[in-house]
Amino acid sequence: MTNNPQLNKSGQLQHLLTTEGLPAPILLTILDTAESFVGVTERDVKKVPILRGKSVFNLFFEPSTRTRTTFEIAAKRLSADVVNLNIAASSQSKGETLLDTVNNLSAMHADMFVVRHSQSGAAHLIARHVKPEIHVINAGDGRHAHPTQGLLDVFTIRHYKRDFRSLRVAIVGDILHSRVARSQIHALTTLGVPEVRVIGPKTLLPSKVERLGVHVFHQMAEGLKDVDVLLMLRLQNERMVSARLPSKEEYFKYYGLTQEKLALAKPDAIVLHPGPMNRGVEIDSAVADGKQSVILPQVTFGIAVRMAVMAILAGH
């Protein structure tokens, strides 16, 4: 189990399953390639022929509109044929197993699978069982990873802050259940960010999270001091049901990002959020729509980053 399942024998990207364990040069190649696609997305004719004749299957075992749409746009801008499958509603309910579904779709000559699944490790399982010519992109698996989100976040950070090696970055909120946070942490630490912080109440931090290379804070006042980048996370309603938090209101009061709390960070700090936002829960509207927010540029860059990942997997 020591081999990185994401890399082929010559060390090139075979699948994108997680940002963990990917060497910095590969991450940087993805970011640089994405840079070149930002131009494409701003042109009148927004298409390049890199994936012409290729089929990209969006396999969404868990409902999602935003992520699926951005992958679809990215694939179409690369001239691929895109098939969207909302599997939560069809075969799985008929008792077909995950691998049966994947094998059936492989037989339809897919070139790339974009997979979202509620179970951690689902994308790894698929990658382990597909034919060698098929590439798998993890679009979110359980609490484990959401690597294209992590990559678009570091892309956004680089766009505004240039040098990773002088940054202090804080990730705020429900780290325990967040695949986004895990992907951000691994990407940031690999790219040489000297200080990555996580801030949240103890019920939302996984045990031994410091082993991932982060500094742990429980108070915003301390955790946000002198940070350059704030990565906000979405808070799910389930956390109240499972007795991890008393109420949204108390969460907002202590961990919600307001202008007042943002003032604790550096004056030029930027604010990111993977969406969809809960205004008034983890972030105040004044901040979300304020001048330090780069939440909408994130979405635009997200398409370029996903195009880059697909192009690189296709050997471009």
């Binding site: 189990m1 963990e20 197993t97 951690s120 490790g121 069982h129 698996d141 359980g142 609490r143 045990s207």
Partner: protein, 425 residues
């Protein structure tokens, strides 16, 4: 039916015998060791030169999946696995379908097992009806039908009042209660140790205090009731320390550990290897090391196979959804030998953990080579390496974290009641 086992290294952990000798078997029992008894005319001679001759292994935790779960394994397949692993006596768990909570079911299982004429089967009866944790089973009746102790398998018993009464009732008759300590609320839907690996992989986690909290309850109630408790498959350093403390207080408690857990840790999950989805979860390296120490100092009495055959499809799922468990009967001996080699423990002491010690916990006359004892024997080559492959396993369950690895120690002959029930082709 007289059999002579010649020139093997005879190891009997109970008597301390460890010497090259002949073993004489007749009429289902061990007639003599060393000196030829008068009038002994073997119809068969087994050349055991270079091999170890020891008591047949006794396993405290084997799931045979019958009745009801034959798609996972059958009595035929798992009994064949047992004897090919040198296991001649085994305790099987009540979590079948239906649950072993009625005397008729136990009698049927005993009868089926007996007719196969392989390993001896000792059913653990359900402690509560349907393993639901609500009302007591007819323990005395079940005992008469053949149950050797009572337990909950991996099903929770969250109602402490029911547990207390179960202990009082069982101790009335002197029956042992076998429990795998785990607090159901803290374990919740966890599938991995609450540590670095679960954090990295985003897997729902089970904290160590799920084990220690349950241990604490059980130990306090055992002190109150005087019930005889066997702790199954302990998983943590802190848990082992609590068992040690309970033993020092003189409480009648015993404890086992699964063979997987003295070799593996959470790290072995790697990239979601569902073969490492086990119950209890593989914990940290320091826990594993503490379990190994506990086994050496006697805190932990025995090693069990934790045999839980799972059908292949049930493992071809994301880690969390994949069914927990691994095949184990055929690996109990080699994994015990591997541990002994790593901690430099002499062979007789190592074999004690899978023969005489588990037999003592079961309260059965097995696991030793005294003259007159039932001739349940295991003859193995201690130096032969073999590769753990699906095709090499007799069990219907082919999944184990050790798949693909080479292990040392291969069973050559297994005798039950003085008959050769297994030999390598």
């Amino acid at each position: 039916m007289e059999i002579l086992i010649e020139n093997g290294r005879v190891v009997d952990p109970k008597s301390g015998v460890d010497a090259v000798m002949n073993v004489f078997v007749s009429g289902g029992t061990i007639t003599a060791i060393g000196t030829t008894p008068p009038g002994f005319h073997p119809y068969r001679k087994i050349n055991a030169e270079g091999l170890v001759v020891c008591p047949g292994l006794v396993d405290l935790s084997a799931r045979l999946r019958e009745p009801g779960l034959e798609y996972k394994a059958t009595l035929e397949s798992e009994m064949a696995a047992a004897v090919s692993g040198g296991v001649t006596s085994l305790a099987c768990s009540p979590d079948t379908d239906p649950v072993l909570d009625e005397p008729g079911l136990v009698e049927m299982l005993k009868h089926r097992a007996k007719s196969l004429n392989q390993a001896h089967v000792y059913p653990i009866g359900a402690l509560t009806r349907g393993l639901k944790g609500e009302s007591l089973t007819e323990m005395a009746e079940l005992h008469d039908a053949g149950c050797i102790a009572f337990g909950q398998s991996d099903m929770p018993l969250p109602n402490t009042r029911v547990l207390m009464h179960a202990m009082q009732y069982a101790s009335t008759f002197g029956f042992g209660i076998w429990l795998r300590p785990q607090d159901v609320n803290l374990a919740d839907s966890g599938v991995a140790h609450d540590g670095e690996v679960a954090t990295r992989l985003g897997l729902p986690a089970i904290p160590v205090c799920a084990e220690t909290l349950a241990l604490s309850n059980i130990i306090l109630m055992a002190r109150e009731t005087g019930a005889k408790i066997h702790f199954c498959r302990i998983s943590s350093a802190e848990g082992a320390a609590m068992v040690q403390a309970a033993k020092r207080q003189g409480l009648p408690v015993t404890c086992d550990v699964a063979a997987n857990h003295i070799h593996l840790s959470e790290m072995d999950i790697g990239f979601f290897d569902s073969n490492c989805h086990l119950v209890p979860p593989l914990r940290g390296l320091s826990d594993r090391d503490a379990l190994r120490r506990g086994l050496l100092d006697g805190t932990i009495d025995a090693i069990c196979s934790d045999h839980a055959p799972v059908d292949e499809d049930a493992k071809l799922l994301p880690f969390e959804e994949a069914e927990a468990g691994a095949t184990g009967l055929e690996l109990l001996l080699p994994l015990t030998l591997k541990w002994a080699e790593e901690v430099r423990l002499p062979l007789p002491a190592a074999l004690a953990r899978i023969t005489v010690e588990p037999a003592r916990i079961l309260g059965i006359d097995a696991g030793h080579l005294s003259p007159g004892a039932i001739a349940d024997l295991c003859v193995f080559d201690p130096d032969e390496y073999w590769k753990v492959e699906m095709a090499a396993l007799k069990s219907q369950g082919k999944n184990t974290p050790f798949l693909g690895m080479e292990l040392r120690g291969r069973v050559k002959y297994t005798l039950v009641n003085g008959e050769v029930v297994y030999e390598t082709g």
